[in-house]
Amino acid sequence: MGGSGSRLSKELLAEYQDLTFLTKQEILLANCWLLLHPLHPSGSSRASPSTVPGTQAHRRFCELLPQEHRSTEESLHTRVSLEQILSLPELKANPFKERICRVFSTSPARDSLSFEDFLDLLSVFSDTATPDLKSHYAFRIFDFDDDGTLNREDLSQLVNCLTGPGEDTQLSASEMKQLIDNILEESDIDRDGTINLSEFQHVISRSPDFASSFKIVL
């Protein structure tokens, strides 16, 4: 791995492999993608390596980068704005893309992702992450108002995200009320009108499909 290997040192790679659920190829791919985007702020599809099949082309892309972006320190601290992350093909069609980016962002204004935040994101959505970790982050993604529980507004916003973007795809008010009543009846065990993390994880543990559907493959 000629050019791209000089970007991340071996120790750093080993450390990332130890602390996340990603493999070496996935980490290098993520690094490559993130470094490209500051150069192509329009996020054109030509620049995105994910649309180019195979890792050979990725390496060629990485080798095209100018020298000044090859230092490890700089690559770790480069922050990519939310719009550029949202243009990633894996996230473009996802109705939860904004929430996902906000949950994993560590900047004070929650509007940009560093390389390590991006790795966190990929690690949680990877194949081998534990269902526990996935359900924890799924809860945070669904908690639209960030108050630690899923109340009725969170649930109705969640259902609207699921059914579709337009006005005509949403459920009627009575259907929504009925649905949220059913959901709360099934999952709110302590009957306080909201779903907290433990209740959410209890519901998720009953569905074996969650781990396989909560996956993003880079």
Binding site: L19, K24, A93, P95, T106, E116, R152, D181, R206, P208
Partner: protein, 775 residues
């Protein structure tokens, strides 16, 4: 290194928490009596809680566990302690405040503000240090913290690994082994990472599978993953055969058969006969004696020695043991993967809570294309509306007349389908009898293809009839409809294969008494496989491509045909059954199957991308893969194993060809060998003993079956017990929730009284100020 600290958010008076305002005295009876919930208090008439109450509510542990770092750290600290303590029994009673810091965890949850976050963190680091390297790595990976914090935790917990661990008295006997063990584990860990990276790079078709998953979702992807699994099974079957049977025989070819060698025509690839008959492909080629390397006469003109010219290789024994061993390994792998898949997909109590599960778990994040994403939106919306409608329906009464009519229609459709199956079976039987009666020589090409063509046509046509009949019946749940269709197709295929097996082992053996019947059976299975592949191609072409063209041009519909997952998977299982049936008679059949599967992958992928759309009905991908593997194990592999056992134990091998030509049954080769071992001497006497008392005797089989039944019964009881415990815990949590609401209301009323009395006092003071005389 930036520490992310998400403090608990202070409540704002504008945001009212919607909590049912009930008093516990009436609440318990009311909530247990009513099946549904009480109507929740709307925002207009919710009690406006004071700032203090809201602040307390927002900082409750159940609400902060998802957000605050301190709560996450203490939760994982608890888990680490539990992990470390797993071997030793926890102390009961008499646990007071003591100087040992690890016991303070009992107070952590009660008094979160007392211990600062840094203290909690240091406790967690201390616990992490006492774990093994592998456990620590696994714990760190699974923590929902940022990468920077995980790195700092790892650094801190690594610094004191050289410290002798006297507290863990369990390993106190060999202190030096700790360091050695750690080094070994680290080295293995590095090796494991390297292997994983290598495997990840080697994974075939990774990009293609990603595109399929992105465009069609997990359910269609499960078909292609199943195809990959079958490839692995075939490779597992082929390797021992290549190594011990085919390779050896190819290196030491038997003396050439008398008669002219037929010329190679293209028809051999279809019929499997002709030129291919006397090759390593079929059973008849293999010799029935021990193979010796060709002896080179000594330079001084001496004779070839017998035992001194290298190890003799007993071909019949090798053939029997390799086929038996390969089947045994396949059986173990199948049962293991089936139980693993079942364990992942079965959950206690998974039938309830379908609304919540649909809303939380049904979005497939693998889907990346806009069109597919829109389709997923539509599917989920339809599913939610169906669920809501079902809920309404279930509450309404069902008329007896309607139920009876539904049952009658169901029974009729099943009878018709079974009649069609019977008709197909009779047709195959009659045709096979016809083939035996008519004088067709073994070398004639085209006529040999007649029976396989008939079988393939029936396998192709009958499912369309079933689909037509299934349009008459209406099931409550769409998933049940699919399972019923799978069941019917499976019965048809298995019954036809059963008839063919009877035809081969029962009738052909007698008809071809002086010829090589095993070669014939091997060739028949080869023909069936090749024609099956050709018919799948034709079905894909006409069923998908032509149908899409017709529906686009003539019918002007924008909908593409759906990809029929169940039908395609059954075709794969059928092909694999043919391979397993034929392995004894044609050892290279798994190689043919591997080539066929590789071609099938590319053809199906191309056709899928061009012509099809994802199925509308929601499929549970994990349940499906369990069902596929179970179907592969139970009718398919079990049937092939029964066929193999019957052929090995009961049928007389032909006397003119093959490795067992002088024996009464194939199994006798093993018996002869055991008898020779008995005479060989006392050193290997345990083997004949094992053979006599464990293999020939029937008692161990009964013992093993009884043990298996006992284990299954125990597991069922354990699941029942778990269900009961879950019910009890739910009741307990619900009671705690009521306590919580009671306390909140009480707090609220206390604050309100205080506010009112304070407000009253200030009002009184103001009134007195304004009008000191008005008292």
């Amino acid at each position: 290194m930036s520490l992310r600290s998400r403090r608990t958010m202070t409540g704002s008076p504008a945001r009212t928490t919607r909590v049912k305002s009930m008093t516990p005295s009436t609440s318990s009876s009311r909530s247990r009596a009513s099946s549904g919930r009480q109507a929740l208090v709307g925002p207009e008439d919710a009690a406006a809680y004071s700032t203090a109450t809201l602040r307390i509510l927002a900082s409750m542990p159940s609400r902060t566990i998802g957000r605050s770092r301190g709560a996450i750290i203490s939760q994982y600290y608890n888990r680490t302690v539990r992990l470390r303590r797993r071997v030793s029994r926890p102390q009961l009673g008499g646990v007071g405040r003591s100087a040992r810091p690890s016991l303070r965890l009992y107070d952590l949850e009660l008094d979160p503000a007392a211990l600062e976050e840094e203290e909690k963190r240091s406790l967690l680091v201390k616990e992490l240090q006492s774990l093994t390297v592998a456990q620590r790595g696994h714990m760190l990976k699974g923590m929902p913290l940022g990468l920077a914090e995980k790195r700092s935790l790892r650094e801190e917990s690594r610094t004191l690994t050289g410290k002798p661990r006297e507290r863990r008295g369990r390993r106190g006997l060999f202190p030096c082994c700790g360091w050695l063990r750690d080094t070994c584990v680290l080295a293995l860990h590095g090796l494991g990472l390297w292997l994983l990276a290598g495997l990840h790079g080697l994974k075939p078709w990774r990009y293609a599978l990603k595109r399929i998953g992105g465009q069609f979702g997990s359910s269609v992807l499960s078909y292609f993953l199943f195809l990959k699994t079958l490839l692995a099974f075939n490779a597992l079957l082929l390797l021992p055969l290549l190594a011990f049977v085919v390779g050896v025989q190819a290196a030491f070819p038997p003396p050439a058969s008398p008669g002219p060698v037929p010329a190679f025509t293209g028809l051999e690839l279809l019929t499997g006969g002709g030129r291919l008959t006397h090759t390593v492909m079929y059973y008849g080629y293999y010799s029935n004696s021990t193979l010796n390397p060709p002896c080179v006469p000594a330079p001084d003109g001496g004779q070839c020695g017998r035992e001194t010219d290298g190890l003799p290789y007993n071909m019949p024994l090798a053939y029997l043991f390799t086929v038996g061993g390969a089947f045994f390994i396949t059986c173990i792998t199948l049962v293991y993967s089936m139980s693993h898949s079942f364990g992942e997909s079965y959950r206690v109590g998974s039938t309830s809570g379908v609304h919540a599960i649909t809303v939380f778990c049904s979005w497939d994040h693998k889907v990346t294309q806009r069109r597919a994403s829109r389709l997923q939106h539509d599917n989920i919306r339809t599913h939610l509306k169906e669920l809501l409608a079902e809920g309404q329906l279930r509450q309404g009464p069902r008329s007896v007349c309607g139920r009876l009519r539904q049952v009658a229609v169901l029974g009729l459709v099943w009878l018709l389908c079974l009649a069609i199956t019977l008709g197909c079976t009779v047709a195959v039987y009659a045709f096979s009898e016809l083939m035996i009666q008519s004088p067709v020589s073994a070398e004639q090409g085209g006529a040999l293809l007649a029976l396989p063509v008939v079988v393939c046509l029936l396998n192709l046509g009958a499912p369309y009839l079933y689909r037509g009949l299934a349009a008459l019946e209406r099931h409550d749940s769409p998933v049940l409809q699919v399972y019923v269709a799978v069941c019917r197709n499976l019965i048809l295929k298995m019954v036809i294969l059963g008839i063919l097996c009877y035809h081969w082992l029962g009738r052909r053996v007698g008809a071809l008494r002086d010829q090589c019947w095993e070669n014939f059976v091997g060739q028949e299975l080869y023909r069936l496989m090749v024609l099956d592949f050709i018919f799948i191609l034709l079905d894909t072409l006409f069923g998908e491509l032509v149908w899409r063209l017709i529906s686009e041009r003539k019918l002007k519909r924008k909908e593409k045909p759906e990809f029929d997952i169940a039908g395609n998977v059954l075709e794969l299982i059928y092909g694999q059954t043919l391979t397993w049936l034929g392995v004894l008679f044609a050892p290279l059949l798994p190689a043919v199957q591997i080539i066929k599967l590789v071609f099938l992958f590319y053809i199906k992928k191309t056709s899928l991308m061009a012509n099809c759309q994802a199925p509308r009905r929601p499929w549970l991908a994990s349940h499906m893969s369990t069902v596929f593997i179970s179907l592969l194990c139970f009718p398919s592999f079990l049937g092939a194993a029964v066929f193999l056992c019957y052929a090995v134990w009961q049928v007389k091998p032909s006397s003119t060809c093959g490795p067992f030509r002088t024996l009464d049954t194939m199994y006798e080769a093993g018996k002869v060998w055991v008898r020779r071992l008995e005479k060989a001497g006392p050193r290997v006497s345990w083997l004949p003993w094992v053979h006599r008392y464990l293999v020939e005797n029937t008692f161990p089989v009964y013992l093993v079956s009884a043990l298996l039944l006992a284990v299954i019964y125990l597991n069922i009881q354990v699941v029942k017990g778990q269900r009961k415990v879950i019910c009890l815990l739910r009741e307990q949590i619900s009671n705690e929730g009521e306590d919580k609401i009671f306390l909140i209301n009480k707090l609220h009323s206390v604050y309100e009284k205080k506010e009112r009395s304070r407000g009253g006092r200030t009002q009184e003071a103001e009134r007195l100020e304004e009008d000191p005389d008005a008292r």
